[in-house]
Point group: C2
């Protein structure tokens, strides 16, 4: 594939935050010759390089009662060398949708001789392993893993670690285009190949997100994303003294991390999870607040933002969740120790203006799951490993 080289990389403490890089072409062939680091700011990512990272990557697909056709399509788009890990919170019982997902996954894996893991979010064995590892924050009052995509992501991370993967990417199960899923994962690999540090993250910016209403309307960004990005940028500007628009992927559901980075970040619940990752990176490695990870500070954190060639066409989930999404995203910034009084007031005013909060109300505190590094992931892993066959779709 061909991708723009980043026009500029902002530095915030030891965080290297690259401006958006567009994908120029999906394939770069065998024959093409391009000088290293490209002509006119275009980089060619070799097929071999992409495969190198795919082979080390787990792709976590959280799913909850999604249409089976969409789920199947998404899995069929994930590059073959990646390990697919499905964390499902779908209905069981009479209509056992979890089982249907397992059957579909297993059929696809059998046809293509690939491996995959699938686990139910409410599987007591997973909750036990999490508890044993000291990861109680994931558990609800019933002793099982709490509902939520964010919790599924953390379980997926633990499984990816148990499987020995060095990179982990997230892909939503509601995508209509297998070809777009393929591109996301290839973009993850492309980003990782450009990283200088073993602590790296790739966040996807959709080229367009078509809205279906009568015809197709190709939106660039949602209003929620625009607002989230604005206040994330303000958080940086207020400390560096230079205005910036570098952050464009504050709410990026499609994103990936090196396992080394994934292990040292806390994870927020619900829609707060994606912006919180950036907030936590800024807090821990922005050079403003004291850090406990001197070694990481030395190596730095690379954050890439890649704009896809494909539009993002996904199942419409209605608009009700948008104000909740905005509220939780801005909470992560509001409650950050980096956030000054002026920014706090601006966020409150924004939330009141957008009728998400009433005068006098505050954004709710963010519920965080501690970094996996702090819990005994070894215990989780050894507990899960005994059972690993159970989750294996193909041995």
């Amino acid at each position: 594939m061909f991708i723009e080289s980043p026009r500029y990389t902002e530095r915030f403490g030891s965080v290297r935050l690259s401006h958006v890089q567009r994908v120029i072409a999906l394939d770069s062939g065998l024959k093409s010759e391009l000088p290293p680091y490209g002509a006119m700011g275009v980089i060619k990512i070799e097929e071999e390089t992409i495969k190198h990272f795919e082979d080390r990557m787990a792709v976590v697909i959280p799913v909850k009662d999604e249409k089976l056709k969409l789920f199947e399509g998404v899995v069929s788009g994930v590059p073959h060398d990646c390990l697919v890990i499905v964390i499902s919170n779908s209905q069981r019982g009479k209509v056992d949708r979890f089982r249907m997902e397992g059957d579909a996954l297993s059929q696809l894996c059998r046809f293509t001789i690939r491996k995959a893991l699938i686990a139910h979010q409410k599987d007591p064995a997973i909750a036990e392993a999490a508890a044993e590892a000291g990861c109680d924050e994931l558990l609800g009052e019933d002793g099982l893993i709490r509902d939520g995509k964010s919790e599924a992501m953390v379980v997926g991370l633990l499984m990816a670690k148990a499987a020995g993967k060095e990179y982990v990417g997230f892909v939503d199960a509601d995508n209509y285009f297998p070809g777009a899923v393929l591109e996301y994962v290839r973009n993850y690999a492309a980003g990782f190949s450009l990283a200088q540090s073993p602590y790296s993250m790739v966040r996807i910016l959709w080229h367009y997100k078509p809205k279906i209403s009568g015809g197709l309307y190709f939106r660039r960004w949602g209003r929620v994303s625009e607002t989230t990005n604005k206040y994330l940028n303000d958080l940086i500007s207020s400390k560096t003294g230079f205005e910036t628009e570098v952050v464009r992927t504050g709410n990026a559901g499609e994103h990936a991390m090196s396992m080394k980075l994934a292990e040292i970040l806390p994870y927020a619940s619900g829609y707060a999870v994606e912006p919180q990752e950036l907030v936590s990176i800024f807090e821990n490695f922005g050079g403003i607040l004291p850090t406990k990870n001197l070694k990481v500070m030395e190596q730095g954190i690379d954050v890439f933002q890649i704009e896809t060639r494909n539009p993002h066409l996904h199942e419409e989930k209605g608009e009700e969740h948008l104000s909740n999404m905005l509220l939780l995203a801005l909470s992560t910034i509001y409650h950050s120790p980096l956030c000054g009084e002026e920014s706090k007031q601006a966020i409150l005013a924004e939330l009141i203006k957008q009728e998400v909060l009433k005068e006098g109300e505050e954004p709710p505190p963010v519920r965080l799951v501690s970094p996996l590094k702090k819990v005994s992931t070894d215990k989780f892993i050894s507990h899960i490993r005994e059972d690993f066959d159970k989750y294996n779709v193909l041995g």
Copy 2:
């Protein structure tokens, strides 16, 4: 990629017509091991194999006043090693859309260091070259190439031949998903890799063709395609005595041919072009009518039909053209010497039932351009070659 092996291949004279093969997964990785010709009827097409055919393939994109964003997206999805040939019939003059297309193509080619050809359908030099070659049938009363996608396809074929390509594929310019275009071309390559004969054709069946009306509705087939396929199948059944449903891609706009096959087929005008290709193959090599190509008969013709993983989401052109499309498609069958009286009556009844024809009317005759083999393509080529630089986007 992983693709089903054909469950069954129908033989009609020396035509080998394979049943639809589904694409199972878009990528097959570096590591995957699959016994040759697959486990459980699944074939792995190696990346190297795909690239081998892409390198020998021209991808012709006929375009007429298409949205520039869509055109750019389509080009960016064509695999890098293919030669892109754009035949444009877009507006010139004050708003020079042809020029805008050329600029967009040229920018993309410069970024990715690839070659492409672009020509205007009404370029007098092309008409001259066609005339000199004896290809008068392409010309209108004004001495220029006639309007029409089919005519653009033939010009594209001639250009592909001039460029020395061994395979030629067609891709529409109105596709919303670059990733789907990438898949079409990879499917062409996959099909060619399975061919036994140098005379081969690959036709694409869309997994779904979403219809946008309020929400998205995932249609399997349009009614026009269903009807066309039915009568193409009847044409075979009436001769073999065995009913068949093998033909599923009668109207496939997305299709590709080996140059050897492309040269010996006549091309119909307008919407008749795709079904006519099959009708001509049945007439010439079905073993019922006398053939002049004994050598080809010996080697046989391979026709593959591949069902994509991606849905096909394209610009909606309205429904008015559908009845015209049906009329022209069925004309190709109606006027074929293979078509018996009974089939003719059935087609007339169908067209009257669908209110495309009135009682007593007949489908219009099909306007055919003779096979390129019969004209002096060498003359076209030598004429065009002098000017080839003019059409070259990157030297």
